[in-house]
């Protein structure tokens, strides 16, 4: 019972920490915390992601007759990557936060001495890692099922990072901004309904009524699909940079919402 070493903080009555070393140490430890905390749950999430990635490709493929135009297949198979990453980002964070609120551990986790942005970054890393498996599986199944080849460019990396980042931020922000998880779920369901049903992610925007196509041009969903197509099937995209700009702008907006949501004190 004796001889417990006294931490320097208490012994020296030290002040606060700051700077890049603190951020890096915080990121590492929070990432470890998140991964260890999801140890039982994360494999299930990855498995579901892989299965849904495969399922989307095979299931959506049933919409088409036997002889499908290559363009349609490319729209479908590139769009599915976005749907997978988008749904994971939108749903995973709010689910975990809802669980924390139900178990009354939310306040404790918010009281941890980690910069809010670093905490969000650690969460984004977890979501990204969970999403990559599903994305890889659905790409592979797309190739096997439809006998197509993608023109994979290095921009697959920023495209994946940005799509996952923006989606994760939207889910993360809503989870923290809305006090009642039930309301968060309703909002997210509504967004998902619009994004998957009425945004040109798996098909060209010309299929939509003109007003809906115009509306979508200002929203991030179509542009997420465009930047993914820019990385996998660039022949389908005319101006990928403007899509990057629009998605980055939306990401910045959601960064602001997230910063407000986690930084505000009631």
């Amino acid at each position: 019972m004796t001889g417990i070493p006294v931490p320097a903080e208490v012994q020296a009555l030290a002040g606060t920490r700051s700077g890049p070393l603190y951020w890096w140490a915080s990121y590492r430890s929070m990432l470890r915390w998140e991964l260890a905390g999801l140890r039982l749950f994360l494999p299930v999430i990855v498995a579901v992601e892989v299965l849904s990635g495969i399922g989307f490709v095979l299931g959506f493929g049933l919409f088409f007759p036997k002889r499908v135009p290559v363009t349609a297949i490319l729209y479908l198979t590139t769009g599915v990557q976005v749907i997978n990453l988008y749904l994971l980002g939108m749903v995973f964070g709010p689910q975990v936060v809802a669980q924390q609120k139900a178990a009354q551990t939310y306040d404790y986790l918010q009281s941890l001495p980690v910069p809010r942005a670093i905490s969000a970054l650690a969460w984004y890393t977890v979501t990204l890692l969970a999403g990559i498996g599903g994305m890889s599986a659905s790409l592979l199944v797309s190739i096997l099922r439809f006998h197509i080849s993608f023109t994979v460019s290095p921009s697959i990396i920023p495209a994946t990072l940005l799509v996952s980042f923006t989606s994760t931020l939207i889910g993360y922000s809503l989870a923290h901004a809305v006090p009642r998880p039930m309301v968060t779920q309703v909002l997210i369901q509504a967004l998902n309904f619009f994004a998957i049903g009425f945004s040109p992610i798996c098909f060209p925007p010309e299929r939509l009524p003109a007003w809906l196509a115009t509306l979508n041009r200002g929203l991030p969903f179509e542009h997420m699909a465009e930047i993914m197509r820019g990385a996998l099937a660039p022949q389908l995209v005319t101006n990928v940079w403007s899509s990057y700009a629009i998605v980055v702008a939306w990401a910045c907006l959601w960064i602001a919402v997230a910063a407000w949501a986690v930084g505000r004190r009631g």
Binding site: V10, G37, L40, Y108
Partner: protein, 313 residues
Amino acid sequence: MALQIKDLKKVYGKGVAANDGITMHIDAGEVYGLLGPNGAGKSTLVKQVIGLLKPTSGTITLGPYDLVKHPAHARQLCSYLPQAQMPIDSLRAREAIELTGMIRGGDGPAVRQRADHLIEALDLGEWRDVVGMRLSGGVRRLVGFAMIAVWPGQVVILDEPTNDVDPLRRRLLWDQVRRLADEGAAVALVTHNVLEAEKAVDRLAVADAGHLLAEGTPSSLKAHYRGRLRLQLMMRPGLSVAEPPEFIASSVRAGHNLVMVIEERDAARAIGWAQDLVDAGTAEEYALGATTLEDVYIKLAGHAPADSLTEGS
């Protein structure tokens, strides 16, 4: 560094003042008890200290740090053990303690060493590598405490730390709480358990309806009761005392217990009266003893704390 709270007021949206002009301080090296019934404003006060709520007015400082202005500093300088269990379902006990120590800024070897000592000191060795979801409530609570104590802030806030913990390990836990204070932390103990708090704290405050009703050392708060005794009757279910005798200074009913305060000179009469009630079958048993902090609490807060009457009386 001392935690200083001055004229703290927190009014929620509907105009309810959860804290209404609270002024208090906790010195480094001190264990300070914050007692009060549900709705007293304890949680609101704690959340303001740790930077999760913004006061409507008033100040909270820790040495040179303004914790209201800089909530990020508050989170770095304060460690908080919530009343709910820690989120460690998937984490092994030792892993949870170490990881929290690192999140709090400890470096690996020192955190590991300290985690090992805490596991030993709290007698948690057999659960060292057991995941949280397989731990009993009491063991999980102790692991939660170790997660706080492994690399504590300058202020350590413990909300009902002994909930579900067995009596033997409670003693070990209180030893470690004292050790935290000895190491220089200002320890705030938030509890309903008055009898435990009486033994553990250096000073305490009783809060109700957003105010601090009284503050001082346990003995100074009990000074009013010198020369008085507590008589506790355990009534048969459904029965009550129709008319207490005139020598009963005050009484309060909590469940089947009737807790009364009497003057020492009336002890013999009180015993006779209580024995008559037992003989008549109105009461099952009685106990006469020194007044405790609980009697002070009952007087101040107007009712008995939910979980303490059955202990130590």
